[in-house]
Symmetry: C2
Subunit: 407 residues, 2 copies
């Protein structure tokens, strides 16, 4: 029997507790032995709930319990999660976490402590919720030179953009609706500004390139400036607007960005709608591989945590060798990134056509039926070049990067 402790009985933590009871027989069969929740740490009490029998309020009880071999961290936030995880690893207890902020901030250090103590620091649930991505990247695609990872890594923003596309509603209305349905937080900043997706792509990039990709180095742009007019232009292009988080390796130069993009139906991410997430991995041998599923939700996320618990239970005393160096990856300066840009200018075509040609050369006009503005797509250019040209024009309403060769 393997004893585990759960730190934090919130949404994910209680999901872990439930699945370990509900799927007991299959988990026991897969693990080769029974997994038993010996203690759950939470400041609150849960009288009359099954968890009350194993509830503790003091982390030191878990830290010093030599029978506890695996700790599940589902508290969220950096502190005291970091201190508790570090203490657990230092006691030789493997830790399985769903906490992306923790992994993005302290991943390399915690992985090193795990290796030193012959235990494991696992974090499948920190990216893509229930979608298996961390372990497949390491064990199924480890032989690949990964050229690119591009993902829809945030369900809230994907839901908002999907609703805006399907119902023609504006951002604020859909956000309010998403908050009512529980798909968006009261304070939606981390989601709608792209910070959540940014931490997730930083984790994937660190894992794949073997050194720390600092999320603070990644250019991140959210979806708050996307309007119904932008969506209508995308429709005219038989395309959709999606916020993607991506990292690319071109001749050992690594670049990363989180931003809304116009993508067309030839791209696998195009059909990923609603609260679903997907991660597209381009390997130099295997080509495109995509992983799709629920990127959030109590049971989906808890399921991913338990996959880690089973793996940790099968590797007691053995570090499985997942790591990345503390050294920071130097990303290509964002000004040098190349894209095509969809641009909207105030004023009609006659006001703009000449000066656009002067600033951008030949462009592709996009007509969505608005007479008070002029929409077009540029040739591929760097962010730096675009900024200069846009500044020169002075009347840019919005601009969205464009993926997809035939747009």
């Amino acid at each position: 029997m393997i004893n585990i402790s759960i730190l934090g009985y919130g949404t994910v933590g209680s999901g872990v507790f439930e699945i370990i009871r509900g799927n007991k027989s299959v988990i026991t069969e897969r693990t080769g032995q029974e997994i038993c929740v010996k203690s759950v740490l939470d400041l609150r009490d849960f009288p009359n709930e099954p968890v009350s029998e194993v509830l503790v309020h003091d982390f030191s009880e878990i830290e010093n319990d030599t029978e506890v071999q695996i700790v599940v961290e589902t508290m969220g936030g950096l502190h005291p999660a970091y201190e508790f995880v570090k203490a657990s690893l230092n006691k030789g207890k493997s830790v399985c976490t769903s906490n992306k902020a923790l992994v993005a901030a302290f991943g390399s250090e915690l992985l090193e402590i795990a290796a030193k103590n012959k235990c494991n620091f696992f974090f499948e649930a920190s990216v893509g919720g229930g979608i298996p991505i961390i372990r497949p990247l390491v064990t199924s695609l480890g032989q690949e030179e990964v050229e690119e990872i591009s993902g829809i890594l945030n369900g809230t923003t994907n839901y908002i953009l999907t609703e805006m596309t399907e119902k023609g509603t504006d951002f604020d209305t859909v956000l309010k609706d998403a908050q009512e349905k529980g798909y968006a937080e009261k304070d939606p900043t981390a989601d709608v500004e792209g910070h959540d997706a940014c931490r997730k792509i930083a984790i994937l990039a660190s894992l794949v390139y073997g050194a720390s990709v600092d999320f603070e180095d990644i250019y991140t742009e959210g979806i708050t400036k996307i309007t119904d007019r932008d969506i209508n232009y995308a429709k005219k292009l038989n395309a959709k607007i999606k916020i993607t988080a991506s990292v690319k390796n071109k001749n050992n130069k690594i670049s990363a960005v989180v931003a809304p993009r116009i993508i067309n139906s030839s791209q696998p991410l195009y059909s990923v709608d609603g609260v679903f997430n997907a991660i597209l991995v381009k390997g130099n041998m295997v080509g495109d591989v995509m992983f799709y599923g629920q990127g959030a939700g109590k049971l989906a996320t808890a399921s991913a945590v338990i996959a880690d618990v089973v793996e940790a239970a099968k590797n007691i005393g053995i570090n499985t060798g997942i790591f990345w160096k503390a050294d920071k990856v130097k990303l290509v300066p964002f000004e040098e990134s190349v894209s095509k840009f969809f641009v909207r200018l105030s004023g009609n075509i006659a006001d703009n056509e000449e000066k656009v040609e002067k600033a951008f050369g030949e462009v592709t006009k996009v007509d969505a039926g608005y007479n008070d503005e002029y929409g077009f797509i540029t040739a591929p250019m760097t962010e730096g070049e675009f900024c200069s040209a846009a500044k020169e024009l002075g009347n840019v309403i919005n601009r969205i990067r464009v993926d997809g060769g035939n747009i």
Copy 2:
């Protein structure tokens, strides 16, 4: 250093040879040591090619080479692949194969021999080519009660159906084109009749349910009877025809089938086109998870073999515990499977309406503009019930099972 041997220098075997050279540094880093191809078995000679330096013509040289720790089997076919694999495992050498026929026929026996000899029998490449599916099912979704697996598991048939849909071409024309492009074999039977997909779903089902699902027990129907008219009806329904292989577990009653189906855009498999494959897994906790990528192709398939080689190299002397029992899973008799059916009858609506109502009760008419036939969709019914009713009518041109609630 880990020495491996490759049995069979055909498409996949030569791909393995190439990737081990081409991606040497990343493979060495992931494995923790260098992987070296010590010998390649093939009856042919390849003068002036790098492989000629390590080519052998006699399997016993590999079998008796105590330095060879891992054998890659990419010969295909049942014999002598089975004998060579068995002999290798009995010598304690792990085997990594891309040979679905071998796994579907002898999987449980070979897994047991591997366990006894503290080595591994891995077969990631046998299903879905380069798509990671076998290992994720075991290690990332092992904690799930899998309710259903449904996959587009054959790239040839998916390509044919996609071309028929996009270009309006008939089956024979597209097949000929696919053969010219190398997407279909000279003898396309195994693909177009569904036998290939059937072996693959049998492997996935055996893995997930822990006992042998015999591919010969699975009802299998190919795509040779699908016509351009069927495709046009599907278009009228905003749907596509896809051949899927699926297995379901409902209250511990397991059913499996390979057949063309009409599926709509609400289903993740809908957008999987061309030669791509995808496998949708429904877990009781995680919900829908989908894996997508190239289901065939030299380098994609070889990449999956090498993922297995890396895993085998990291587990020398340790069996990782993948197994299924030799006992056969008793599948639900196909006559009891329930579907809605899209049906085409000869004769116009006036000829048919009354007798259809008598045979099927209320149906949903589908009009694709043909005056010489009558198309409709039934309510859900068993295969047995459908057969009786269809027999009674006597004028069925074709029938295709329908998935998707809102069709």
